[in-house]
Amino acid sequence: MLTLIVLTFALAFITLLMKRFVHSKYVGLITLVPFTLFITFLSYIPKVREGTNVFFKNEWIPSLGISLDLKIDGLSLLFSLLITGIGTLIYLYASSYMRGHVYLHRFFCYLGLFMGAMLGLVLSDNLISLFIFWELTSITSFFLIGFNNENEESRKSALWALSITGLGGFFLLSFGVMMGSITGTYSIQELLGQSEILKNHSAYILLISFLFAAAFTKSAQFPFHFWLPGAMKAPTPVSAYLHSATMVKAGIYLLARFTPVLGGEYEWNTTLQIAGGVTMLYGALHSVFRKDMKSILAYSTVSALGMLVFLLGVGTEKALYAASAFIVVHALYKASLFLITGVVDHSTHTRNINELGGIRHKMPWIAVAGLISALSCAGIPLTFGFIGKELIYEATLHYPLHTIAMILTVTAVVTNVFLTCSGFLVGLKPFFGKLTVRCAEIEKPEAVLWLPPLILAFFSVLFGVLPILADDGFVTALAHAINGKKIDQHLQIWHGVNRALILSGMTIGFGILLYFLFKKFRNPMRLTERFNAISPQNIFTLFVDKFRVFAFIYTRFFQNGYLRVYLMVIVIFVIGLVGYKLFEDVPLHVNTTGLSEFRVYELVVFLIMVVAILFTIRTSSRLTAIAATGVIGYCICLIFVFYGAPDLAMTQFAIDTLTVVLFVFVLFKLPAFLNLSNRAIQFRDAVISIAFGVLISLITLQALVSPADKEISRFYAENAYELAKGKNVVNVILVDFRGFDTLIETIVLSIAAIGVFSLLKYRASDEEISE
């Protein structure tokens, strides 16, 4: 199974190379890739139906508990079928829809990568590999949304989508790591057995917050929903595939996957009910105010996703069963509606429903698909949508707490009324009524364009008439996987006259009423525009803008390009931090015992050095400054002599001499000192430097008091002759014990020499180049 996923990725990359093939008329053959996968997954249906889960073990980093284990159960199988099944149709559709695009090969590459990532995501049985595939879907989605990369809006939308879903990815990783550290395993299958431990763990709230943050951003829940309508800048096949049927459902998948592990608690249910409820109302309400077909669909998708979260939140067996059915219902009708929109847009070059009407004469099959999908969306009997809606009402009506059941039901009904209306706006409005001027001249679309939406519509009817097919095929297994145990529910075409049926009738009635009301509005956007200021998108944009301004100011302040300022920040920071620690924690005391005796000549050397330092600082002559620096060096040389370091003394002497020579060579080519700073700045710098010096002195003093570990020195001293046949221990360390370090040091010196040489020698040729 892993091989299949890897192969999908590989084929995607190969597509990049097959530019000629992709631009030929045989491009439709590429559909075989998802189709083969689809058939493969179909073959797992019998096994999964019986309730057995199929595992594929793949080691990756066993020492960290990270594997590429895959698992096929009801949940992952259904998602895999959706991904590959709808994927097949999308490939077929795109091969015509995108024809002639210069970057068609890239398009199919991205699409293939996305499909592979999505399959990996739903099949993963390991939290870490789940996270990796999750991020891959975000990234490929970024490329697909921004596919028309010459359009600024498109790029911006892609960036928004990536930022929001990327933020979610971060939380998913945190969630995964936390789960792993609590339970000691990343395997989702093993987590199922630890459900009780997790639910009673003190970090439970934090865990589900992270999970929700990941799921809500990916599945466009309020207030993170706005990236989804933005993502409609993508080519329509992408919108249909990623942003209605597959990727946005990844969040739902995540919630469903962890329902048996973490679900059922009060916090879990309430949060999901509220978040889902708000989102589904918000999305449904917004959808009817739009005139752009894709916008309407985007908001109704947001609403449907809210509905799914809501149902998972309700959490009863009935609700989980309803959610299972609704995932399929929605995927079928929404993908179909998107594809229809694409065809309409393709031939009329507008998606504004005001300008569209009567196209059924021009493209009858599309009109049929639109009609069926709209009816399924509205929940008219004999469509799969009807069954889905019945189940939803059943679930809300039978919620254990009566008052809450009422609220939930009302929310669901209102949402469905609006969704019915928006479904009609997209599925019916363009096709019925009088043929508008704009649509008079259009051509008949090709078969590969109208066939995919029609196939989807066909399944909406098929499952509506013969629900046993869907029920037996995958919905029961799916509900089983979400619930964690068997659910005794079955899809039925007719439940008898009950409250749910009455509510369904009301929904359809009000929906149709609303449709006729909103059909007439020329520009209903005006009504929503006044709330733009407080829309989440505006708030996010404002936040991002302000953050950018803050980052700019912050960077300007600390990274202003002045070397001194960097240095000063570092020094002040060290003074503050180390100084505080020193005075807070270390008792300052001076231990004079054990120190060497005081000698007058030492004081003399010290005083000479102080005078030389003062000269270096104060002089306005370069020669004096360099000479004074030389004096400092020679004095240090004397100190080395005093304290038993003849090697150091000799080296210091030689180097100091050479440094002075070096300066003398360059001296007159170097600029004269300029007094660039005024007295106040000099004073400030002096204060900081002296504080720093005092701090270093204090640290040194403390270090003197605390006993040093002499083990290494003792080892070298005792073994110098034994092991290295040398008596000058310093030299033995350099050429024998630490010979490798010395070798590296000589290499560094050589590099310095080569640097100097090349800087100076190649000046002439450099100038020639720059001229």
């Binding site: 003849p646 090697d647 000799m650 080296t651 030689a654 180097i655 001499t657 050479l658 020579v661 070096l662 060579f665 360059v666 080519k669 092991l723 290295a724 046949k725 040398g726 008596k727 000058n728 310093v730 030299n731 033995v732 350099l734 050429v735 024998d736 010979g739 490798f740 010395t742 070798l743 000589t746 290499i747 010196l749 050589s750 310095a752 020499a753 080569i754 100097v756 040489f757 100076l760 020698k761 000046r763």
Partner: protein
């Protein structure tokens, strides 16, 4: 032999005369410091620096060009030579089946130097690199700045 000397050259007569003797003495001293490094203070670094100072002194008395003409080759060539010697001295034990840079010695001691081993050759390598580096840096600067 030049018959006419410029004013500048006349000023440097004493220095030049001194340098003519100092250069070989200092070079000899530097080798001495290098070789005794293992037993008394000294070593490749110091030795190399002293040798460099000798050449720098010579260049002060004469000119950089004349000092360079003392070499049959560019002092820069000393750098790879020294590095190669150091690395080879480290590789020698590898040929004997010991880890890189293990100390290996001849059985008999030599006068002044003491026992001769890979460490000595390593130190000679350091000595050459230091001379090469210092002279390259200083002479390049003197000629080009």
């Amino acid at each position: 032999m030049k018959r006419y000397r410029s004013k500048k050259e006349q000023d440097q007569t004493i220095l030049r005369t001194a340098t003519n003797y100092l250069l070989p003495v200092l070079l000899l001293f530097s080798v001495f410091v290098l070789l005794r490094g293992h037993y008394l203070s000294g070593g490749g670094f110091v030795g190399g620096l002293i040798a460099s100072i000798a050449f720098v002194l010579h260049s002060f008395a004469y000119s950089t060009k004349q000092t360079l003409s003392l070499f049959q080759f560019s002092p820069m060539a000393l750098i790879p030579a020294g590095l190669a010697l150091s690395i080879l001295s480290g590789l020698l034990p590898v040929l004997l089946g010991l880890p890189f840079m293990t100390g290996v010695w001849f059985a008999d001691s030599v006068a002044v130097i003491g026992s001769v081993g890979t460490a000595l050759f390593f130190d000679i390598g350091v000595y050459l690199v230091v001379i090469g580096v210092v002279l390259t840096i200083l002479f390049t600067i003197a000629e080009n700045v």
